[in-house]
Amino acid sequence: MIRPLVEMELKGMRIYKTFLFVNLLIMPLALLFMMIMNSSSRTSEDISYLVSGFIVVSLVSSFLGTLTNRVSNVFEPSVLELYSTLPPKISTVVLAQFLTYSLLVLPQVIIALSVIVYYQGVGRINVLLLIPALLITFLELGTLAITIGARIGNPYKAMAVTAVLPWLLVVFSPAYYRSSFLALYLNPVTYLLSCIRSAVGLERAGPIPWMLSVTLTVIFSILARRSVKAGYMLEKPF
């Protein structure tokens, strides 16, 4: 059931292919290019720091930008009505959307990781930490996006959130600058950055960011599951 749904989602993007190509590859890679071009005035660690920030920012944009909008579209009453008698459950449709956007953002993540490996050297990368760090980042941001999208249930209203939330999460996190300002620790993205940076040898692997990120992932997963598994999906004030 998942495969046709993922195929449907990917095929559904055909008419936006130029827009997607620019937004998913040209613009992010242009940013990456500028970071690399700036390498002569910075240490390789500085470059890796920025590129690791780029990985998380890409995931924030993909999930909290696009996925939230797509999920909110599925939760519109008229679309829920249509899917109510089609074979896939809403939870399966949403899972397929999460997988689709994970696949779409994957090239950026892989290219950015390759840049980090180039500057940091393979020896400093802890693969055993990197895999769970990426997994937690995908899951935490993905489930948060699903929860928000399902709760809003209206792509027009969701647009207001998706225009502001990723921006806030990125600006008030040490993605592209170094800071230990306390307010940044209210932002879950700060901890995800710490997890990824500790896995690529840019930070010491402390337990707090990991514990908080895992806890938030569990909480968002429960909330997302509740939203997509509800029996009577229109049984809420609207």
Partner: protein, 302 residues
């Protein structure tokens, strides 16, 4: 056996609005049943409960003998639905949408069989030439036809249609009616504003007003519930004897304008005139089904 059985269904929203109030509706095997009522009558709430999207406050809904509150899986297994809104998948072609629906319903259907099913349903609905059109290229009528195609291609026993021909041109409308009529389902429940549609398709009709069923029966029975004046204009071949004409009549040249309290009275008099003096021109303005329903709704609202 009733393939759909809604018993004493009541739905009260959290804000206290009673959208359905003790509604009982049944669809017998091989029957097409219509639900009619004005906007806000409670039709959408009723359908959303039938689709398992809203929880009834009271009452029960049985689909193919199974209570959907206890076995919600029966909805997806037996029921196909055509929504009111002309939804579409903007960047998938008509053919692709149907292909995915078949694949999701049964992953084991071979590509050849899939193509055959798609081609059949496209032909049936007159969508062959639009098979490669993307959703965003479809007209309102084509979108509605595609939604019906999506429902039919799944080959499920029951069909629930929510205003299936709204926003559709008259030619497409008649084509869709024919497809629905000949769809060979075990039961069809149709909610509509279009009285002609209900009259053309339904074996029985339920009239809903303010969340309650206020009348039910065949379209003919509904029509007989209200007596409405009927006007007849005719030119007889010879002079009409005075005793035959009703009290309310006018003569303008050769043309007689007669007014009757009911359609039945009008037809009886016309029959007498035809047999006694013959008629060279005849025009009967009888109450439309639409007018009858408006009248019924008006009476109930009072």
């Amino acid at each position: 056996m009733n393939v759909i059985e809604i018993e004493n269904l009541t739905k009260i929203y959290p804000d206290g609005t009673k959208a359905n109030d003790g509604i009982s509706i049944s669809v017998r095997k091989n029957e097409i049943v219509g639900i009619i009522g004005p906007n806000g009558a409670g039709k959408t709430t009723l359908i959303r409960q039938l689709l398992g999207l809203l929880k009834p406050t009271e009452g029960s809904i049985r689909v193919m003998g199974k209570n959907i509150l206890k076995k919600p899986g029966v909805i997806k297994e037996t029921l196909a639905y055509v929504p009111q809104y002309p939804l579409s998948f903007p960047s998938l072609t008509v053919e692709e949408v149907l292909e995915y629906v078949i694949r999701m319903r049964d992953g084991n259907v071979s590509p050849t069989e899939r193509r055959k099913k798609i081609s059949e349903v496209l032909k049936l609905l007159g969508l062959e030439r639009a098979s490669r059109f993307f959703g965003y290229q479809l007209s309102g009528g084509m979108k509605k036809s595609l939604l019906l195609a999506m429902a039919l291609v799944q080959e499920l026993p029951l069909l629930v249609l929510d205003e299936p021909t709204s926003m559709v041109d008259i030619v497409t409308k008649h084509r869709l009616w024919e497809v629905i009529r000949n769809s060979n389902r075990e039961g069809i429940l149709l909610a509509s504003h279009d009285m002609n549609e209900v009259k053309a398709l339904c074996d029985r009709v339920y009239l809903i007003l303010q969340g309650k069923v206020v009348a039910s029966g065949t379209p003919g029975e509904i029509a007989s519930m209200v007596k409405m004046p009927t006007e007849v204009r005719l030119i007889p071949e010879r002079e009409i004897p005075p005793g035959v004409l009703p009290k309310e009549h006018r003569k303008r040249g050769d043309l007689y304008e007669l007014t009757f309290n009911t359609l039945e009275d009008a037809l009886k008099t016309v029959d007498v005139i035809v047999k006694s003096v013959g008629v060279s021109y005849l025009e009967i303005e009888s109450p439309s089904f639409e007018n009858l329903v408006i009248n019924l709704i008006g009476r109930n609202a009072e």
